[in-house]
């Protein structure tokens, strides 16, 4: 199971940051060719990200590239170059309907075929950043087998809604829930929007707690210092780990005895409990609080 608690945005035109963004150990490094790159730098950023992905080693950290939309003059060139650069993921901006994903997929497939890459190598993420996108979240989430997740982008959205970001995030409640439900129906990741006030650590942590409780898999982050804070919130407590390990031990015991019914402390252990226990241990391993060797 691949964790995506943090997807770190890295401006694609900043060589100093692009060269080794993995050292902050986000779950995914996401090079941006879109909004953080001015139109005068589009070519330079595309070239830089292409060369770095081809040359440097990101030491096991998943790589993604946010491309420009196909409705811009840069989108197709981005796909041409990035499929060849072979990040793990291409992230589509401002998705509003299933067709947006299909269009990008068609382009990717064309390039994959051209260069002899197995079809489906490049995975997809779709960002939902408009009211229409939010309402179509379900069809977007179910639009492609390549799709690993959908991500909420709130900055444009709140403007379209004629409001602004607030501390408690009441204005995003509907969009967050919609994106989350869509992702769960499709069986893919749900990633929350960025928190742009990098000075406000307290507000950031509060928001991470909120989205974790809602059920999100993780958050897009714009500042390396935020990574540790997210991971800390997602680290299971000692008590949770202890309980999960006991659940997993009980299953193994039941399986070895060939017994179908599993009980722990006199209570039935059913499928959702087992699944939650597995998820807890995965998170605990990623957080370094449980050694990798522990079996699921």
């Amino acid at each position: 199971m691949k964790l995506r608690r943090t997807m770190l945005y890295v401006p694609g035109n900043s060589a100093a940051m692009v060269k080794d963004a993995h050292i902050y150990r986000p779950d995914t490094v996401m090079f941006d060719l879109e909004d953080s790159v001015s139109y005068r730098e589009k070519d330079a950023a595309r070239f830089l990200v292409y060369q770095t992905l081809r040359t440097l080693d990101y030491e096991g950290v998943e790589t993604a590239v946010r491309i420009n939309g196909l409705d811009t003059p840069y989108g197709r060139d981005d796909i041409e170059a990035m499929v060849r650069a072979r990040p793990n993921i291409i992230r589509i901006p401002k998705t509003e309907k299933a067709q947006d994903v299909t269009d990008v997929e068609t382009e990717i497939e064309r390039v994959e075929r051209k260069i002899g890459l197995p079809i489906g190598t490049i995975k997809l993420f779709a960002a939902i950043e408009t009211p229409l996108g939010v309402l179509n979240a379900r069809e977007i989430a179910c639009s492609s087998n390549r799709l690993l997740g959908i991500a909420l982008g709130a900055e444009d959205l709140v403007t379209s809604l004629r409001t602004s970001r607030s501390k408690d995030g009441i204005e995003l409640h509907y969009a967050r829930s919609q994106v989350l439900y869509a992702a769960r129906i499709a069986g893919i990741n749900a990633i929350d929007t960025v928190y742009s006030n990098v000075q406000d650590e307290e507000g950031f942590i509060a928001e991470v707690r909120l989205i974790k409780q809602l059920g999100f898999d993780g958050k897009s982050v714009i500042q390396p210092n935020q990574i540790k804070l997210v991971h800390r919130v997602y680290t299971p407590t000692e008590e949770e780990i202890h309980k999960a390990l006991r659940v997993l031990a009980a299953i193994r015991e039941a399986e070895s005895k060939g017994s179908g019914v599993i009980a722990l402390d006199g209570r039935m252990v059913d499928k959702p409990i087992v699944e939650r226990a597995r998820w807890t241990i995965e998170l605990a391993k990623a957080s370094g609080v449980v050694p990798e060797e522990v079996k699921l």
Binding site: A16, K19, D20, I23, Y24, T55, L56, D57, Q223, P224, N225, G288
Partner: protein
């Protein structure tokens, strides 16, 4: 035995077998010109050492061609004293001087002219920066600059290798008889640790102040019994350049990453236990180590016996909350440290010899458990350069780097693997300041390397699952991004000699071609 009559009218021997020649008493005032003569008058004693102008002080000291003058660098980038004094010396037509300052900074550009005109012939310093450093790197001086460490300078002065004729010492507060301290007044700089050695050993001592206070100015760092003359001027420095308000914690994610990793190294190294002692430098990452260490100390209920070195607000805070029992301060980096050295009973000023002189009867770096130091370059032999930049131009200082590296139980170097487009870990450093045999661990943003001389530390870090590599592996990682740099275009002329703390020459710096 031949007897003579002395000024008290008594007969005494002039010579006594087994003792030698004896001097007859010549009158109570004859040999002590510095005492008050108006015995019996009811007015308060007025005796003082203040002279009207710097020029008079220089003349009274008998400064002549070829002599050695000394300064301290406690005013850092805000220093007015060196330039002020050297301008007047130049106007007096005195030439061929040796300038021995504990260090020089980028505010000392005017020295370039004094060198060109032959006023200054030789320089002893810990560091050079700015235009002066640039000019010297391009061959301004015929005699190479002698670069020393802070401990090495104290040794040179105390052993007489560096003999100071006149020390011109700026002091932030002073009374009319020469008791001076550094923590009060508008130009407060805190500790006067480097100046104290000069005051003790120079043949003549001139104090320069902008803050004359009532006698006696206690507590004092420089004692009246060492001082010849005092000159009062409008300002000895620019407070902005002397001390920052409080050294701010970095928010740079790379520096924080290095700092946190360094703190993990320290905690797992075997040196982190109740009563340990620590020194951290003033660079962004080194400073942030203090913050992460504080968290670990609170977590594990560990207290430090003392913190040493350049003292910052972070160290003061930990002292005041009981985490660091004593502070030994040779140099105060910010206004909080300046306040504390004046207020806190156990924040003690130390001089450069006590700090790091390798040949005295015990300097405090020898009692240090852990030191965190920065580096411009480090090579695969763990030699460290903190003086020449990747362009071959001098832009740093030896400071206490080599002193604390050898004295400490664990010396930790913190540096980013790549700076701009230049690798930090390389095959051979441009200039060796600290020899690799005294360096234990390198912490970079891409992982940690342990000197093979410290296998037990390596094992502990591995057991703690820290990202440990060999230093060659780190070098390769850097080169993967930067490529291998072209060799620097050095010329023939030697522009500086680097003295190791014991007085031997560890390296030299050649002129860089334009």
């Amino acid at each position: 035995m031949k007897l003579v009559k002395n000024a008290a009218g008594r007969e005494i021997p002039e010579l006594f077998p087994g003792i030698g020649k004896l001097e007859p008493f010549q009158g109570a005032y004859a040999r002590t010109p510095l005492v008050r003569r108006e015995k019996g008058s009811r007015t308060l004693p007025r005796l003082n050492k203040i002279v009207d102008t710097l020029e008079q002080a220089i003349l009274k000291c008998g400064l002549q061609d070829g002599m050695t003058v000394s300064f301290h660098h406690h005013f850092r980038e805000g220093d007015y004293v060196v330039n002020m004094v050297m301008d007047i010396i130049a106007n007096l037509g005195i030439k061929n001087l040796t300038l021995a300052s504990s260090s020089l900074t980028s505010c000392h550009t005017p020295l370039v002219e004094h060198i060109r005109k032959g006023v200054i012939k030789r320089i002893y310093t810990s560091g050079l920066r700015g235009v002066l450093a640039d000019e010297i790197s391009h061959g301004l001086m015929d005699t190479p600059v002698l670069i020393h460490s802070h401990g090495g300078r104290a040794r040179a002065i105390e052993t007489g290798q560096l003999s100071i004729d006149v020390a011109f010492l700026g002091v932030p507060s002073c009374d009319l008889y020469g008791n001076a301290n550094g923590f009060s007044g508008k130009s407060a700089c805190g500790s006067l640790g480097y100046a104290i050695v000069d005051a003790r050993h120079a043949k003549k001592v001139v104090l320069i102040t902008d803050n004359l206070v009532d006698y006696p100015n206690t507590p004092f760092s420089i004692d009246q019994d060492l001082v010849d003359y005092i000159v009062i001027v409008d300002a000895i420095g620019d407070p902005q350049g002397i001390a920052t308000g409080a050294t701010r914690m970095t928010r740079d994610p790379r520096e924080l990453l290095i700092a946190e990793l360094a703190s993990q190294v320290i905690v797992t190294s075997g040196y982190f236990e109740d009563g340990f002692s620590v020194q951290t430098g003033s660079g962004g990452a080194a400073l942030a180590v203090t913050r992460f260490l504080r968290e670990k100390m609170l977590e594990r209920n560990v207290k430090a016996s003392f913190a040493l070195g350049g003292i910052t607000s972070q160290i003061v805070k930990m002292h005041e909350e009981g985490l660091i029992k004593r502070i030994l301060d040779v140099q105060s980096f910010d206004l909080e440290a300046v306040r504390s050295i004046g207020e806190n009973r156990y924040h003690t000023e130390i001089d450069a010899s006590y700090y790091a002189n390798p040949l005295n009867k015990g300097c405090v770096v020898n009692k240090l458990n852990v030191v965190v130091l920065s580096a411009m370059e480090i090579d695969t032999e763990f030699n460290v350069n903190v003086i020449t930049g990747s362009d071959g131009i001098i832009r740093g200082a030896s400071g206490g780097h080599s002193d604390t590296a050898i004295g400490s139980g664990l010396s930790v170097i913190v540096a980013p693997l790549v700076r701009g487009r230049t690798p930090t870990v390389i095959d051979k450093v441009t200039t060796v300041i600290t020899p690799g045999e005294t360096v234990d661990v390198l912490v970079t943003d891409h992982g940690v390397a342990v000197n093979p001389r410290r296998p037990e530390v390596l094992e502990r870090l591995k057991a703690a699952r820290l990202p440990v590599y060999t230093i060659e592996e780190l070098k390769k990682k850097a080169e993967k991004v930067t490529g291998i740099p072209e060799p620097l275009p050095f010329g023939k002329k030697i522009v500086a000699l680097v003295e190791y703390r014991d007085g031997t020459i560890i390296d030299m710096i050649r002129e860089i071609q334009p």
